[in-house]
Subunit: 263 residues, 2 copies
């Protein structure tokens, strides 16, 4: 058996999220396992770095699986991308012994796209949250910066499976205005050791409330410091969110605390 | 009856092009007319500036229609966008007497996106032509520049409905490399008085052949000067193409040659 590592991109629109569920509930993990089964005639479990929600996309999801494969990795990569549905594709594939995409990850980065448009823009419906009002990006950035550092993020999410604490370290959290053929676009990037369930979408919702002028910076900060899930608002819609990158130590190095669970 | 002018954006994936066809063949024109019928209970004909092909998108298609409507344009805009399918939306709506989107147009601009990616990228399948090879953009730009000016474009297309000549004036024709979250992207912009049927897609196919090194600049030029449709290659796939803008004289001015047909 060989341990493989791969980067996976997907359009999450048609899936009920990353995690394999029961029959009739399409998942990205399930589709990857089905492609591996089809190609290798082996039942293979795929492990992913991040459990993206229903409708959330990925450019840089990272996975691992074990397989007995008699041919080269290039052949396997081609065969898998041929077997996979069009909306999921491996971007690369390597052999890496003892690699664990979740436990070994140093950080995850998510991007969230908000389009500031007066009318619906069909060409970015699948990848943007469309917000009619112009947003105050300076105010949103002031609030976003408060999240940087090691904090208790209980206001913005619960631990995966209800297990573990709600302390995470955020390395980067900022908005950028991007020009786009669709009009004015605000792009949020957030990097952290790991994220709580729904954390990015709860943060984005509240930051957009700040940008709309419905929530002051002080209100945002008070809610954050309250460490109380009931103080956060709704979830920003899933289609604006993309798991863009997961970082690891260079292959061969071993981190202290290896195999300590992070989600 | 009032004459309305509107800018329309659409994701063309689900449509067999702009033009209304028979029952069971979804078209953008048909969907707009159905929405007008639903909102106004009147049978209304919608005229468009450009007849986009099956699967081609628009950010700036321009349309006109006549309607007896007792309320304001804002109300009509809202009602139409509510009645339209999600993949079509009016971006604006104004009243403009005697406006004809096809005859009055000064120029049309199309954009074409080519993604240079080794593996399939699900998030840009709907809007890009994915090409594995790296492309020589300098060579593509040298060839693209040959098209600028007033020329016979018979190599690249036939006149709409087989009527009229194949002479058109191209104002701009160039490639740009764009950074994108999906990887290296080459973006072609072409502006002309009007286009022949399939003209942009035939041009893009041949320019990409130049970029791949399969066709020299001299070969491209010889094919162009031959004014012979059989000298062009295939069509670049439709999903990379978007009608981005149609330009008009300022409202109220009347061009010489008004109501001379252009397509």
């Amino acid at each position: 058996m060989t341990r493989y590592r791969a980067t996976v991109a997907y359009d999450g629109t048609a899936y009920e999220g990353w995690q394999r569920l029961s029959e009739g509930h399409p998942s990205v993990q399930g589709a990857l396992e089905a492609a591996l089964q089809q190609v290798s005639r082996q039942a293979v479990e795929v492990i992913g770095a991040g459990r993206t929600d229903s409708g959330v996309h990925a450019l840089g999801q990272v996975i691992a699986f074990e397989l007995a494969w008699p041919h080269g990795t290039d052949t396997l990569l081609k065969a898998l991308n041929h077997a996979l549905p069009r909306d999921i594709a491996l971007q690369d594939l390597t052999i890496q012994d003892d690699f664990h995409p979740r436990f070994d990850a140093l950080s995850r980065t998510y991007g969230y796209q908000v389009a500031m448009l007066a009318q619906r823009q069909p060409l970015c419906l699948r990848t943007c949250w469309q917000v009619a009002a112009p947003l105050d990006l300076a105010a949103m950035n002031a609030a976003a910066a408060l999240l940087i550092g090691r904090h208790d993020f209980a206001t913005f999410g619960s631990p995966p499976d209800g297990v573990g604490n709600t302390i995470r370290e955020v390395f980067a959290s900022s908005w950028q205005e991007l020009s786009s053929p669709y009009g004015r676009m605000a792009f949020y990037t957030v990097t952290a050791t790991a994220f709580l369930r729904h954390m990015v979408r709860r943060i984005v919702w509240m930051l957009v409330e700040v940008g709309r002028g419905r929530l002051s910076l002080d209100d945002f900060q008070a809610a954050f410091l309250a460490r109380d899930l009931s103080r956060s608002g709704k979830l920003a819609p899933p289609q604006g969110l993309t798991l863009t990158e997961v970082r690891y130590p260079p292959p061969g190095t071993r981190r202290p605390g290896h195999h300590q669970a992070h989600h």
